[in-house]
């Protein structure tokens, strides 16, 4: 069989590697190249050195967008993971143990399916639905539920709360997936460990913090990175839901939207590429840092 090894490997690898090289590496190389030009998106372009990056440094909207991405980067993973862990714990272990077998709260198989529903909806649909949920007058779903005497809440029309509304939708959409991920992780934790701990009189909180959490660490780490990357994105929601795309008054502006606006609306493809380069390095350093900081020896079960 040995002589057949190379054709086999090459056959398997060639197509994905070629696709990757053309559509990822190639595209990136072009982005780096374009970030040094004044290309408008139409016609030809001139090299302008690092002028785009200089412009970016002095662009107040860029810094606003970066701050908002930072806000999402900080809160999206924490809130989503905390909620997902809580729900996953309830679904798997929260019901206590009966006859030596730990189980979830009553009805947990159904909840598990329901939690996953938001994941099945396209993000654009989610954005449109939540646009109505957050409607700023009485026709909005939440405002419709509030007593008539109350002033309607402005939600996305409020500079102060608009970004929080986006965060809420991002969390709502993501949490189901991580419940399932963590549930699977919890399912692979051997029952005997819980049993032994329960025999020693451990409370549910102790079970969670001393057993579940350490044994799920690998999953949480992956979740953190994925959610971090989602926080760098948020494009679809901001683009569809917010006032004036990124408003009011840039209060929901994010980097991905800035790239889109500059590339396709303001005819500044060169500048948009420079923003893309910045986003690329930010995402890369985030992933590297997360892996670095959260590294710890896997607990041997």
């Amino acid at each position: 069989m040995r002589h057949g090894k190379y054709p086999f490997i090459i056959g398997f690898l060639a197509v994905p590697v070629a696709l990757y090289a053309i559509f990822v590496v190639g595209a990136y190389l072009q982005m780096f190249r374009l970030s040094l030009t004044d290309w408008t998106g139409y016609g030809t372009f001139n090299d302008i050195g690092f002028a785009n990056f200089e412009k970016l440094w002095n662009d107040s909207v860029f810094w606003t967008a970066l701050r908002h991405n930072g806000f999402l980067l900080l809160l999206l993973p924490i809130v989503t993971i905390a909620l997902a862990l809580f729900f996953a714990f309830l679904l798997n272990v929260g019901g206590g143990s009966k006859g030596g077998v730990t189980r979830g709260v009553w009805g947990s198989p159904i909840y598990r399916v329901i939690f996953f529903f938001p994941q099945l909806l396209a993000l654009a649909i989610v954005a449109v639905i939540f646009g109505r949920v957050f409607g700023p007058d009485k026709s909005g779903m939440i405002n419709g539920l509030l007593p008539d005497s109350w002033e309607p809440w402005l939600f996305l029309a409020s500079e102060r709360w608009a970004l929080t509304c986006i965060l809420v939708v991002l969390v709502w959409q993501a949490v189901g997936f991580y419940v399932v991920l963590f549930s699977a992780g919890m399912g692979s934790i051997p029952q005997e460990i819980y049993e032994a701990a329960a025999l020693d009189g451990a409370s549910r909180i102790t079970l969670f913090s001393k057993i579940t959490l350490p044994l799920l660490w690998g999953n949480i780490q992956v979740a953190w990175i994925y959610l971090g990357i989602a926080a760098f994105d948020a494009f679809a929601l901001v683009n569809i839901m917010t006032v004036n795309q990124g408003g009011p008054n840039n209060s929901t502006q994010v980097l991905s939207l800035q790239i889109y606006l500059n590339a396709f609306k303001y005819s500044q493809a060169g500048y948009a590429s420079a923003l893309g380069v910045v986003l690329f390095f930010l995402a890369l350093s985030f992933a590297w840092l997360t892996l670095r900081v959260s590294r710890r020896d896997a607990v041997d079960a």
Binding site: G43, T44, L123, N249, F264
Partner: protein, 481 residues
């Protein structure tokens, strides 16, 4: 050369994956595929024929043309049922390939860049292409010969002579080789304050001409439990920008707006702008419904149709857009913006009316002359009349719709137009020239109207944005005279 951007719709996936590239080796759709550049090297074979009285643009009678129409508020019937049959009647051997889309930039931009452009394009809608950039890249055909050619069906006049004043000017751009027209702005829009005539008649309210009358009317409307004034902040704040700047134009003449278009330092700090912003800011602070900031234009327009909102700043397309929501108790009428001060340089009847809806022939298509000939057909009196009948929109063809009674709103707009006489001004062009400044003006108008009405803040924000554009060498600049 291949497509530059064929994946705009896929941006969410794209950005997520682009960010993930360091971690997960997922093949992604690239933002820029194989080749960067503009199709500059490819010289497409272009069809031409011999010029004659019958064929003033010198088209090749046998060469096919391809047209792309924006499928929006105006529909596409005017193209399929009027313009194309007229063109085909004159040039039976020239096959017309037609398509319609709502995503002009998404579908057309890659084709322009790859040298495979349609011959005549209707650049419109929310996904329109930055026309200034198209001109700068040499993608739009010079229309000088079209406007100088004889009119399709008005004897003894050139195309330019059949149009309303300012129509050619509005599609004229500065290039390295001088000022030239590149676009036909086909529809003619009259702007003003729209209201329900029946509601006003029922309550004995009349259209105000001075600002004091206007605020007094707003007080009465408010007392009747109706929101006096409003617009949709989420996606229609440019209606408000137009309201503020129209008032400014009436205070200090169109020169104020020309200075803005020419990015003149201090243009946004002019007294006329500040007075207009102050007056409107007060309206915002007192009479607007705060929730409108988060609503879209259709939602607010519906509220007006339900008599929950009295006065709405808009253009003459409004009636057609709302046709399905109008009840028998609703009849659109329009009034000019009231004079802000007693010393306004233009009278209270002065209005802003402008040509809009860009159509252009592609410079690098296979048959640019054919595209221009199609435009010449559109600019005929017969085609213009049918357009107005079908879309309830006036066209730039002067007097084409005279004597036509179509709908109360359009009749009201026509009345306003004739009362204004010579005091009709085109307004401003910076919103199509500089998209970034356009976005800044929308934000500033929203902040002014929904967030305290601070006129100085409005002027400062816009002055800053305007000067940033002026200093940015990567943005193509245009001027007005």
């Amino acid at each position: 050369m291949s497509d530059i951007t064929n994946s705009e719709l896929d941006r969410r996936t794209l950005l997520r994956r682009a960010a993930a590239v360091g971690i997960a080796a997922t093949p992604a759709v690239g933002m820029l595929s194989a080749c960067v550049g503009g199709g500059e090297d490819d010289k497409t074979e272009q069809a031409t024929g011999t010029k004659s009285a019958e064929n003033p643009l010198g088209i090749d009678p046998k060469a096919p043309i391809e047209i792309v129409i924006f499928d929006g508020g105006l529909g596409t019937k005017y193209a399929t049922d009027v313009d194309t049959p007229m063109y085909s009647k004159k040039w039976p051997e020239s096959k017309v390939t037609y398509s319609a889309t709502q995503q002009i930039a998404t579908t057309i931009k890659p084709r322009l860049n790859s040298g495979d452009s349609p011959d005549m394009i209707n650049n419109s809608g929310s996904d329109l292409m930055d026309f200034g950039a198209i001109v700068k890249a040499g993608q739009a055909a010079d229309l000088t010969d079209l406007f100088a050619a004889p009119s399709f069906d008005i004897e003894g006049k050139t195309v330019a002579e059949t149009l309303v004043p300012g129509a050619v000017e509005q599609g004229t751009y500065d290039t390295d080789s001088g000022r030239k027209p590149f676009a036909v702005n086909y529809s003619f829009t009259v702007f003003g304050l729209y209201y329900n005539k029946k509601l006003f008649d029922k309550n004995g309210w009349t259209a105000p001409t001075t600002w004091a009358d206007f605020t007094a009317l707003c007080d009465k409307i408010k007392a009747a439990g109706i929101t006096p004034f409003g617009y949709a902040g989420a996606n229609a704040s440019y209606y408000m920008v137009r309201a503020i700047l129209t008032s400014a134009g009436k205070i200090g003449t169109e020169q104020v707006l020309k200075d803005i278009d020419n990015l003149k330092p201090g243009a946004w700090q002019a007294p006329a702008i500040k007075q207009a912003a102050e007056a409107w800011g007060q309206i915002g602070a007192k009479y607007i419904n705060k929730s409108f900031l988060g609503l879209k234009h259709t939602e607010v327009q519906l509220q007006q149709n339900q008599d929950k909102l009295a006065i709405y700043p808009c253009g003459s397309w409004l009636e057609n857009e709302q046709a399905a929501s109008i009840t028998p108790n609703f009849e659109y009428a329009v009034m000019p913006y009231p004079s802000v001060t007693g010393s306004d340089q233009l009278p209270a009847t002065a209005i802003n009316a402008a040509a809009g809806e860009v159509y252009f022939a592609s410079a690098k298509g296979k048959n640019p002359q054919g595209g221009k000939e199609y435009l010449r057909v559109m600019l005929s009196k017969a085609a213009a009349l049918e357009f107005t009948k079908l879309t309830k929109s006036l066209t730039v063809v002067a007097g084409a719709a005279d004597g036509l009674t179509i709908s109360p709103g359009l009749t009201s707009a026509n009345d306003m137009l004739s009362k204004a006489g010579k005091d009709v001004f085109m307004g401003y062009l910076f919103d199509t020239w500089y998209k970034k400044l356009d976005d800044a003006s929308r934000e500033a108008a929203n902040t002014l109207m929904f967030n305290g009405g601070d006129a100085q803040k409005f002027c400062d924000a816009m002055e800053k944005a305007s000067q940033e554009v002026a200093k940015d060498s990567s943005i193509a600049k245009f001027t007005r005279v």
